[in-house]
């Protein structure tokens, strides 16, 4: 029911896991599905709430936090990514190099930072070939894209996440998972969804380099300093993979995945629910 439920093809992944027939129209989830990792209630800061409409969050920690902020009802479903990893068989291919996600702004936001310095840091740190994955805004900005290409990096974009039910891309996460499973490492200059995704996809994580900043960025819920302190173990060029995996499982709720039947009930994807929605 919220357009953000369909970002990155999240609703499509959940529908596939639940055994819903493929459809060009994304299935309507009765509630708000968390679409990115954050340290607040799981939802985007500009998210409007209607009382009584459930939130579906990724982790137990996010549920506790959302509850303390008065968000009810709130259910832990786990991240769509965790379901995708679960249902997509891993290829036998040998992993190589690093997939690197420079911090990006979202629609209408602008990142301020020194890309050249970041490129130098990546070169100094990464032992193998580097694939830089840009957000679609930066990917379309020729200046930014060429800088990374000139550095000898392979530059890719997973696609456009979609918005307001237009230009939806049900294959977004599939492409991201396929790319991540080709790489041995996943890195970024900020701890973000892509790092947790990469860890769950089997990559060794690293978070280093100038974190850059958004114009007029506000540190909500303790912001960057809190992320640095609370997940200190995930920061650095070399990170303990065991601790990283435990953190990713926690944050993506990979140990709390629901069964298709349970999800269908919560999302009102049962026959009864669809009739009620109609």
């Amino acid at each position: 029911m919220h357009h953000a439920n369909h970002y990155y093809g999240h609703s499509a992944v959940m529908a596939r896991y639940c055994g819903l027939p493929e459809s060009p129209d994304p299935p309507r989830i009765r509630g708000y599905l968390q679409h990115g990792w954050n340290i607040g209630d799981g939802m985007a800061p500009d998210h409007e709430f209607t009382p009584g409409v459930p939130s579906f969050v990724w982790s137990e920690r996010t549920r506790r936090r959302a509850w303390s902020m008065g968000r009810r009802p709130v259910y832990v479903t786990g991240a769509p990514w965790a379901y995708l990893v679960e249902i997509t068989p891993a290829p036998d291919a040998v992993r190589e190099g690093t997939i690197w996600y420079p911090f990006h702004g979202w629609e209408g936001q602008h990142v301020q930072g020194d890309h050249d310095r970041l490129i130098a840091e990546i070169r100094d740190t990464e032992p193998g070939p580097v694939t830089v994955c840009l957000y679609w805004q930066e990917y379309r900005t020729a200046g930014v894209r060429r800088r990374y290409e000139r550095a000898g990096f392979r530059v890719i974009c997973h696609g456009y996440r979609g918005g307001w039910w237009r230009d939806l891309d049900p294959g977004f996460l599939d492409r991201q998972l396929a790319e991540q499973r080709r790489h041995r490492r996943v890195a970024s200059n900020r701890l973000c969804s892509a790092i947790f995704y990469g860890i769950l996809a089997g990559c060794e994580p690293a978070v280093y380099g100038d974190p850059m900043r958004l114009r007029d960025e506000r540190d909500l819920f303790g912001g960057r300093p809190r992320i640095r302190r609370q997940w200190a173990g995930l920061h650095g060029a070399e990170v303990d993979p065991g601790a990283a995996r435990a953190a990713a499982v926690d944050e993506l709720g990979a140990d709390r995945l629901l069964s298709p039947a349970e999800l269908r009930l919560l999302f009102r994807w049962t026959a009864e629910g669809r009739e009620a929605a109609a």
């Binding site: 920690r61 936090r65 509850w67 303390s68 902020m69 303790g222 809190r226 609370q230």
Partner: protein, 539 residues
């Protein structure tokens, strides 16, 4: 000063209802050396800690910022913010205060902290020879047993305390856990009526002593109700709780002071009672025959017991505890200081007093017992003795009836009419109104009844009782209306019959003659009136 963020802090969170109040402040005031205060505590409690070096740990960032601002000018106070689990496990503190308990020491960011794990974390930072002041709410306390249904609040993100199998199940168990951890429990208290701001702290020894039962009944009756919506007012249960030895098992919370070997003895009293800070001062003219109540006190807005009056058991009716020369002032009490009671070889000695408290029963309960038995002569004798004596203005639940029948006041007078009216209200609350109508106690003492409007009940049981009473009164009123209607119908029938008899009588010869005479008289009257009117108009 800025708060030190330890990790696990909650940027958006502020804890309501911090632990505090005068009796907990009194415990906190016994702290010595470098003191750690864990969990939300009211600032006045932190102020009461006499230590030079104090570290306060709270989980909500707004709370930490408020404390940091408050203590910005006080060197030696450090404010930390985060989860207890993030506190460095270094034995750095001489005193650890966690009077709010361990339930609010964790955060959304860390795993639920079991009670045992929380205690281990507190003990890990306590120095050898250190002292722990710990509170522990009782999930089976009266405040919970009598709690009305409530939606889970924002603070209920974790499993409820009652689900924690590591939690102590009683005061004995709590002491045993501390002993097992190498500490020596100095004092263990049962706390009533609210776990975070209790008005009564009492040790097992005090609870078990029948000589103190009257005073403790008075204290529990006057301690107020637990906060929040309740199914029933627990105060009428006070004497039964004491008699059945349940006042500790069903206490809303327990508090302990425990020390590591090597700690110098720090004596604490057996009983601590919140001061009668909200005691209204009676009007200067308040005497036993003052017709106007001088107190706004009602059974739902009670006053804590204050005693320490042993050197003069019968204060003048107009005296208040804060006035110079009154017994409590002579006993060295500052306003707002809780009353303390110590067990001595001579008996129970209030703080600063020379003589122990007398033993006796609480007058309120003696009166109620007589009322329940319907013993009117005994009631009259008790009421008359109370209302004709110096304690006339003191509430019945703040008076001890000693073995020789004397009355020993435990609180300052509120005014005779107010005290009597409050007792009449209690008769009503205890469902004795049928046998003891509201004005009867006043009438029994030779006074004109001055009925005070009853406040609307706030608890479900009392509301249900009021509903049942009103339903009965309505049913009775309907029966009375029916009876009056039947009476009116009978009288109407009699009247109709009388009219018919008159009509029949008129038809007889003597009747007609009488009617003609009456008609002639009426005609003469009319003629005379007409003549007079004409004469007046021509004159």
């Amino acid at each position: 000063m800025t708060a030190l963020l330890l990790g696990g802090e909650m940027p958006h969170w502020s804890d309501g209802e911090p632990a505090g109040g005068p009796v907990l402040r009194r415990l906190a005031a016994s702290a010595r050396g470098h003191t750690l205060i864990v969990g939300p505590h009211e600032p006045e409690l932190i102020d009461a800690v006499p230590a030079r070096q104090i570290t306060v740990l709270v989980r909500g960032v707004p709370d930490a910022e408020t404390l940091a601002t408050r203590y910005a000018g006080r060197p030696g106070v450090e404010v930390c913010c985060g989860s207890l689990a993030k506190l460095a496990a270094v034995p750095a503190y001489d005193t650890v205060i966690a009077l709010d308990g361990l339930d609010r020491a964790g955060s959304t960011e860390t795993e639920d902290l079991t009670w045992a794990a929380g205690l281990a974390l507190l003990l890990a930072v306590l120095r050898p020879g250190g002292r722990l002041l710990l509170g522990c709410a009782n999930p089976a306390g009266l405040h919970r047993l009598y709690a009305a249904a409530a939606e889970p609040g924002d603070a209920d993100w974790a499993a409820p305390a009652g689900d924690d199998p590591t939690r102590p199940v009683g005061l004995d168990d709590l002491r045993e856990r501390l002993r097992a951890a190498g500490l020596t429990p100095e004092r263990g208290y049962a706390a009533h009526p609210s776990p975070r701001n209790p008005a009564v702290l009492v040790t097992d020894a005090a609870l078990a002593d029948p000589e103190l039962a009257g005073l403790l009944t008075s204290a529990l009756r006057r301690a107020g109700r637990p906060s929040g919506p309740l199914l029933a007012d627990p105060r009428p249960l006070a004497p039964a709780l004491l008699r059945h030895r349940l006042a500790s098992a069903l206490a809303p919370a327990w508090f302990v002071a425990a020390t590591r070997p090597g700690h110098p003895p720090t004596p604490l009293p057996d009983v601590l009672l919140a001061p009668a800070a909200d005691n209204p001062k009676p009007a200067p003219s308040a005497t036993s025959d003052d017709p106007k109540p001088t107190s706004s006190s009602t059974p739902d807005n009670p006053k804590p017991t204050s005693f320490a009056t042993a050197d003069n058991p019968k204060p003048a009716p107009s005296a208040t505890p804060d006035e110079p020369g009154t017994p409590s002032a002579r006993a060295g009490h500052e306003p707002g200081t809780p009353s303390a009671l110590w067990r001595t070889a001579r008996g129970w000695l209030p703080d600063g007093a020379d003589e122990p408290l007398p033993t006796g029963r609480c007058l309120h309960d003696v009166l109620l017992s007589a009322a329940r038995r319907g013993n009117l002569p005994e009631m009259r004798a008790l009421l008359t003795a109370w209302q004709s004596g110096d304690a006339a203005g003191v509430d019945a639940d703040a008076i001890l009836v000693t073995g020789d029948g004397g009355l020993y006041p435990l609180a300052a007078p509120a005014g005779p009419d107010a005290a009597l009216s409050r007792f009449a209200g209690a008769l009503h609350d205890e469902n004795l109104a049928d046998r003891w109508p509201a004005g009867l106690p006043a009438a029994m003492t030779g006074r004109d009844p001055d009925p005070v409007p009853r406040p609307a009940p706030e608890t479900f049981r009392e509301l249900s009782a009021a509903h049942d009473r009103l339903a009965r009164e309505l049913s009775e009123a309907r029966a009375q209306i029916e009876w009056y209607e039947q009476s009116a119908a009978t009288m109407r029938a009699d009247l109709s019959r009388a009219h018919r008899v008159i009509a029949v009588l008129r038809a007889t010869t003597p009747g007609r003659a009488a009617t003609a005479v009456l008609g002639g008289v009426r005609g003469g009257k009319r003629l005379a009136r007409t003549v007079l009117t004409r004469l007046r108009s021509t004159a």
